[in-house]
């Protein structure tokens, strides 16, 4: 009974997409056609793939809520220096070890620093590192994966062995070793970001490779090649747009992993260093204050978890939006 429902859902899934009556999009819209896409031959306004994905995402309530919270949190942390009275490096002589109040939203520490300002500063660093790592790692991963999957042969062999090698070396330990080099340099968040990105591209590479391996056998790629398109054109204009869904989803999850890694490095004392701060560093610094001044320890941690939870929920919503058929048996 339940199985019948499944089969029906699968059968009807492609039909629900009015833009794709059995013809893959890149083939239906070959190069150079900018206009005339508004109406299909059926006389119905065409919905682009992007519009469909957006619609499905907006209807995903949890993911939308997560996105809204995420945007608010990001805005708060980036704008905090402009609307909040205290700066993260300001020390008050009088307000020492105060509990959360209307003046000090998250309280203060033993040298009179404002916890809310510190947490916002830490969240800014986390978001900066997370987004940039995702950008760099996705670029490297897609490049490696696309080259390996498109050209196969010896290039594929070499690139995938290198990827495997990066996966077998215990990543956190190696990160610690490399990050140790930048420990003492102040304003070191950029080098920390690059180090994390150097060990975050492997899954993206594997994923893109497997997408490209299956895409290159598809008819629309074959026909593009028959029409004389160059390799670069086939990869960039025909294959990449079709692999974009899984690339974006994985990039979102990379943001979460990067934030997690950065905070772990900073917690262990090998990430973002002293004059500056990070959520992981705050948790480490105030670990022993947990029982006497709970706000110092719990506020940075809860903020960090909320941040990670939202990023993961957005990623999950994007996955559903890009591939609604997965929904039935999705993890």
């Amino acid at each position: 009974m339940a199985d019948d429902g499944d089969i029906d859902a699968l059968r009807s899934a492609p039909l629900e997409r009015p833009d794709a009556p059995g013809v893959p999009e890149p083939f239906a819209a070959p190069a150079g056609e900018g206009e005339g896409e508004e109406l299909t031959e059926f006389g119905v306004a065409a919905r682009s793939q992007t519009r469909l994905v957006l619609r499905r995402f907006v209807r995903h309530r949890v993911a939308m809520a997560a996105l809204v919270i995420l945007v608010v949190m990001a805005a708060m942390s980036f704008l905090a220096p402009h609307f909040y009275k205290y700066k993260y490096d300001f020390q008050s002589r009088t307000d020492v070890s105060q509990a959360p109040s209307l003046t000090h939203w998250f309280g203060t520490d033993e040298i009179g620093k404002d916890t809310f300002a510190l947490v916002m500063r830490g969240a800014t660093k986390s978001l900066q590192v997370g987004l940039l790592v995702a950008l760099v790692a996705t670029f490297v991963g897609v490049l490696v994966g696309a080259l390996a999957g498109y050209y196969r042969g010896w290039l594929d062999g070499i690139l995938m062995r290198v990827t495997d090698l990066f996966l077998t070396i215990p990543s956190l330990a190696v990160l610690l070793v490399v990050a140790n080099r930048y420990r003492e340099s102040s304003g070191n968040w950029f080098s920390i970001m690059l180090v994390i990105a150097a060990f975050a591209w492997m899954y993206q590479a594997r994923l893109t490779r497997s997408e490209f391996l299956s895409l290159r056998e598809r008819d629309f790629v074959q026909s593009a090649r028959a029409l004389g398109a160059s390799d670069a054109r086939i990869i960039l204009r025909h294959m990449l747009p079709n692999a974009l869904g899984s690339i974006i989803v994985n990039a979102t999850l990379t943001v979460a992993i990067a934030i997690l890694t950065e905070s772990t490095l900073s917690f262990l004392g090998l990430g973002i260093s002293a004059p500056d701060t990070s959520l992981g560093k705050l948790v480490a610094d105030f670990q022993d204050a947990a029982r006497t001044r709970w706000w110092l320890f719990y506020m940075p941690g809860l903020w960090l978890i909320l941040l990670l939870l939202c990023v993961n929920f957005v990623g999950d919503g994007l996955r559903d939006a890009f591939d609604p058929r997965q929904e039935r048996t999705r993890a």
Binding site: P170, L172, V177, A256, L268, L304, L308, N312, T329
Partner: protein, 325 residues
């Protein structure tokens, strides 16, 4: 099967050698063990030269690598500058502590993850399924260090409320304990509870989701439908047809995740002040104790490669297609 194992070994050993090369180059180029000495005022160039010669830093990089690998093959990783003992005895002692934590957490974690995953797949969209999904999401997003620190805080609060120590929150054993074999081991298990709970909660979050997805996939296959169609009881269908096939992939995931669990153990040990591999690595990094860092990374890579190898062999044993392909 024997040929398959040999083929896998023939891949694993070269990988280990390449990994050792990468590790050596990484460490050799990313920190100067004499930086502290150089920064000190009043240290003559001659002293630094002598130190360099003593640590063989004046030799070419490739030659240093060759010497190191030659020693490592015989189990000799050199001496630790900071701990003043041979790196191999140091690693052996620390590894025993860390492996105790990692293995206990992995075994218990896998069992719990399988149980949760299978049950929420069989009762898909039930209260249990939604509840475990929500919890998995929360723990999946939780940094290990935060969870460990919170559990430590809760443990200490409970200890204070009760008035005596229920949860050990410091170290891997009580120092200078003389209580015989039973006493020693119950003490060790007591110290294991909170750290392994940390690792279990985090790893179960990921693994149970994976187990659930696999089980759902199997439940929708034709052979399960065939088993139902021929009139087997639901229990028999689940146990003999579905579960058996659904247990295969999760083992690979667990083996591949070993490096992540090891990373989690580094953090957990730091929070609970264990004298294991984690604190060893971090201390050596701060002290720039090159020999220890090199030995640490090589041993850890070897363990990760070994676990991948075991997963491969296990998979090949269960699935003949992989063995022949």
């Amino acid at each position: 099967m024997f040929g398959f194992i040999l083929r896998r070994l023939a891949i694993a050993i070269p990988i280990l050698f390449v990994a050792s090369f990468v590790v050596f180059m990484l460490v050799a180029t990313s920190g100067d063990p004499l930086a502290g000495l150089r920064a000190q005022p009043g240290v003559s160039a001659g002293t630094i030269k002598a130190r360099e010669h003593e640590l063989k830093l004046d030799q070419p990089l490739l030659q240093r690598y060759g010497n190191w690998v030659k020693g490592a093959v015989h189990g000799d990783f050199g001496e630790s500058q900071h701990f003043h003992e041979s790196v191999s005895t140091l690693l052996r002692r620390r590894l025993a502590v860390t492996l105790r934590l990692v293995l206990v957490a992995t075994v218990i974690g896998v069992l719990i993850a399988i149980a949760i995953g299978v049950f929420s797949a069989v009762r898909q969209y039930s209260v249990f399924d939604y509840g475990s999904t929500a919890l998995a999401f929360i723990f999946y997003s939780m940094p290990v260090f935060w969870l460990a620190a919170v559990l430590k805080d809760v443990g200490i609060r409970i200890n204070r409320a009760v008035g005596h120590t229920i949860f050990f929150t410091f170290g891997e054993r009580t120092p200078n304990l003389a209580k015989g074999l039973v006493g020693t081991w119950s003490d060790r298990i007591g110290h294991l509870i909170l750290p392994s709970l940390t690792l279990i909660l985090i790893s179960v979050a990921g693994w149970s989701r994976y187990q659930r997805a696999t089980m759902l996939e199997v439940l929708h296959t034709d052979y399960v439908r065939a088993a139902r169609a021929k009139g087997l009881s639901e229990a028999q269908v689940l146990r003999r047809h579905a579960l058996r096939n659904a247990l295969i992939p999760v083992v690979t995931v667990v083996a591949l995740d070993f490096s992540t669990v090891l990373g989690g153990a580094i953090v957990t040990e730091t929070v609970f002040a264990w004298h294991g591999m984690g604190s060893l690595l971090i201390e050596s990094l701060f002290e720039r104790d090159t020999n220890v860092i090199l030995g640490w990374l090589l041993v850890a890579s070897a363990i990760v490669i070994l676990f991948n190898l075991l997963a491969d062999i296990y998979y090949g044993y269960l699935d003949p297609r992989i063995r022949r392909g």
